[in-house]
Amino acid sequence: MFEYLLKRIATIVPTLIFVSMLIFGLQQLLPGDPAKVLAGEEQDPTVIAYLRAKLHLDEPLPVRYAYWVGGVLKGDLGESIRNQQPVRDLILQKLPVTIQLATMAMCIALLIGIPAGIVAAVGRGTVWDTLANMFALWGLSTPNFWLGILMILLFSVHLGWLPASGYVSPFEDLRANLAAMIMPAFVLGNAIAAVLMRHTRSAMLQVLSADYVRTARAKGLRERSVVLKHSLRNALTPVITLGALELGTLLSGAVLTEQVFTIPGFGKLIVDSVFNRDYSVVQGVVLVTATAYITLNLLADLAYFLANPRLRR
């Protein structure tokens, strides 16, 4: 296992180098001149020339890449051209928000999705199965932004229970923070819960029809023990993979949901930066999310070992 772990970690380095090249290269493929976008309405030629020089836009691509990577290796991700804040500060500002939102959404998704999947599989063909499937279909087919706006209208405008937007740091006021985060977390968690439910259900169905489950039942084990101890563990492997991927997606920013609820996380940061051609911010954020993705995948691989002891050999 230790050897496997080492191998996995060793593959991360080339992956990251490749990712950094990809991020940088794709950015350059974006049409339009960033200096022109940043120069604002006036399009003053001296300002454009200044911005071109500042962004090294006239240098060849490899040189620009070297400038950027050189900075990254020193921990300097550059500075936002639009509002002058260091990219590292921007990321550190947004990261806790995004992590909180992702964690809350994932908890909601797990709390709903896995039990619903188990119930649907165990009670296959019953009314519970139908209900769970209906829920999954609904969750998968409801667009996040639409559900978000409906929830704002219901809980903020009509009932006045929750704030429509306005992020508050949990260290400032925990209740206000939860009040602001619960709706976006639910909207995000809802869609993932549906995916998790479908996968848990199909994995469970497969496991429940396996020989060893029949043996377990024949041994006279209680159904509860058969389902939760013997079947669920085996069924969880694909669900863990999926969960890790979904968590990675959440960490890279829930673009639409963050826009609707004005949650100042990665999603909003990256969208605004792309439209403003704020290159250094886009590159920094994508690099961080790519690293998070890779790390989560590694963690998912490790989680297999915990869930399924046979792999430990």
Partner: protein, 503 residues
């Protein structure tokens, strides 16, 4: 299965709904402002925030008249090449530094020399600044330049603390120090900008809030929902489709102000070779026919839900510099067809480039339908903004939907667009006569004389139609009925002085 769980959570959090603090003014913006340094700032939305943070030498009022702010009075020399300003005594910056003539000199020079400054163009004719005495400053120009006053009533007239600016260098914008009614507290990008009341403000009596917060929410529906639920006291840029309902409901107050900018269609008539390859760019009669095929009132109605004033010039018909000799033409499809026959083109076809914003795309669709009646085949090419800007600059377009946010002085709406080789002249229009007139208007201080010059400019430019001006949008604001003292100034910037929240 999930609704109950949500209800339980919501009920738990019921008490968590934040209580509104009476002394904080909460404003919802449509975008996140750019850097908060008056020299470097580039966006419209940034100017809204500056209105509370940085006082200017001059200001404009509801009628776009120049009024005093940090300068109490001003006087031009006989040759119009020197402007002497008397400054307001007893003004201090947020760091306690004194505002005086030396500070004005520092600021104007900073605008002109700071790397990447966007104010250079507005202050181009400003040669030197003399400190006459601590409260008198003289601006010496290389040539007469009447738009200077309007520039000093905008970002070029904003004064920052010289001491803070020198200490902060290029990063001044992340912690700006000015002399406005509110001072900078913090900014979390894309989340909030917080200011608190400056106790040393010269016009303290007009300030009735302890704090101002600006929160960017790009989606108009969500912005309005936040206003309705009490998260905001004021929002800018309400969606035009929401206005009628808001007015009928009478729960919120609404302000509609005709902008100083415009919405128009820029036509490539000489920017690149492409202009000569299609009849629209080649032949002024075809452009006239195109204009005659458009029903401006209809456009304003369909595209802007009537929240716009139709016009045919770079300033709105209610502007003192509107050229009355060139009235808004009526739609005349028969005449348009006749003109096309005369030009010898039966079914002219061209591509109209638009950005991907919903307003611009809707505009393009309605233009396409209207022009079809006269025999035009308009193809629409929706392009992301940055790309469209590049295409415009290189002349890789035949027609382009382009709006301008406008400047208080007409010069700011016309010089850079119709002067030969100017940075915003995307149409490629160039005429020595027009250039001479535009320069002449810059030297004239008497409004009546200037209007006459602009009438001549209008007669020349509108005949060639490098830009077909369509309408002037309304700035649409909505705010709490308790908020009093909202001044409707056409530049679309909310002034916080005098705003008051009724108990």
């Amino acid at each position: 299965m999930k609704k109950p769980s949500l209800a339980v959570l919501a009920a738990l959090l019921l008490a968590a709904a934040p209580l509104a603090q009476a002394q904080t003014l909460k404003i919802g913006l449509a975008e996140d402002p750019d850097v908060l340094d008056p020299s470097l700032a580039r966006t419209f939305v940034g100017r809204i925030v500056f209105a509370a943070l940085c006082d200017k030498l001059l200001d404009v009022d509801e009628k776009l008249t120049i009024v005093p702010q940090l300068a109490q009075s001003w006087e031009w020399s006989a040759d119009s090449k020197a402007l002497t300003m008397k400054l307001r005594p007893g003004v201090t910056f947020h760091d306690g530094e004194k505002f005086d003539a030396a500070a004005v000199k520092f600021n104007l020079e900073r605008h002109k020399t700071l790397q990447g400054s966007n104010r250079r163009g507005e202050l181009a004719p400003l040669a030197t600044v003399d400190v006459v005495d601590p409260l008198t400053v003289r601006l010496n120009l290389s040539a007469p330049f009447s738009p200077l006053l309007a520039a000093l009533a905008d970002r070029a007239g904003m004064m920052v603390s010289p001491k803070a600016a020198q200490a902060a260098g290029a990063t001044f914008g992340s912690k700006p120090v000015c002399s406005g009614p509110f001072k900078f507290v913090e900014r979390v990008a894309q989340d909030r900008i917080v200011f608190e009341r400056y106790d040393g403000y010269w016009n303290k009596a007009a300030i009735h809030f302890d704090k101002v917060t600006y929160t960017p929410i790009p989606d108009a529906t969500v912005r309005l929902a936040n206003l309705k639920s009490g998260q905001f006291d004021f929002i800018e840029r309400v969606a035009s489709s929401d206005i009628e309902k808001l007015q009928a409901e009478k729960k919120l107050k609404v302000a509609r102000i005709t902008e100083i900018g415009y919405q128009g269609l820029t036509i490539n008539i000489g920017k690149s070779e492409l202009s000569q390859q299609n009849p629209l760019g080649r032949d002024a009669r075809v452009r006239e026919a195109f204009e005659l095929s458009l029903d401006r009132q209809g456009l304003a109605q369909v595209v802007m839900d009537n929240q716009a004033t139709v016009g045919n010039q770079w300033v709105a018909p209610n502007n003192p510099f509107y050229a009355k000799n060139m009235p808004v033409p009526k739609r005349d499809v028969a005449k348009a067809r006749a003109l096309l026959r005369e030009a010898g083109v039966s079914n002219p076809s061209f591509t109209l480039v638009t950005t991907t914003s919903s307003d611009a795309q809707r505009l393009a669709l309605v233009v396409q339908a209207m022009a079809r009646d006269a025999g035009f085949d308009v193809k629409i090419q929706a392009t992301e903004f940055a790309t469209s800007l590049n295409m415009a600059d290189k002349g890789e377009f035949e027609a382009y939907v382009l709006a301008w946010s406008g400047r208080a002085d007409p010069d700011g709406n016309v010089f850079s667009f119709h002067g030969c080789k100017q940075p915003l002249n995307y149409s490629g229009y160039c005429s020595a006569d027009t250039d001479a007139l535009l320069t002449q208007a810059r030297t004239q201080r008497d409004p009546a004389e200037r209007r006459k010059t602009y009438e001549q400019v209008a007669a020349q430019v509108l005949k060639e139609r490098p830009v077909i001006y369509l309408y002037h949008r309304n700035w649409l604001w909505a705010y709490s009925p308790k908020l009093a003292g909202v001044r409707e100034i056409p530049d679309g910037l909310l002034r916080v002085s005098g705003l008051k929240m009724a108990p």
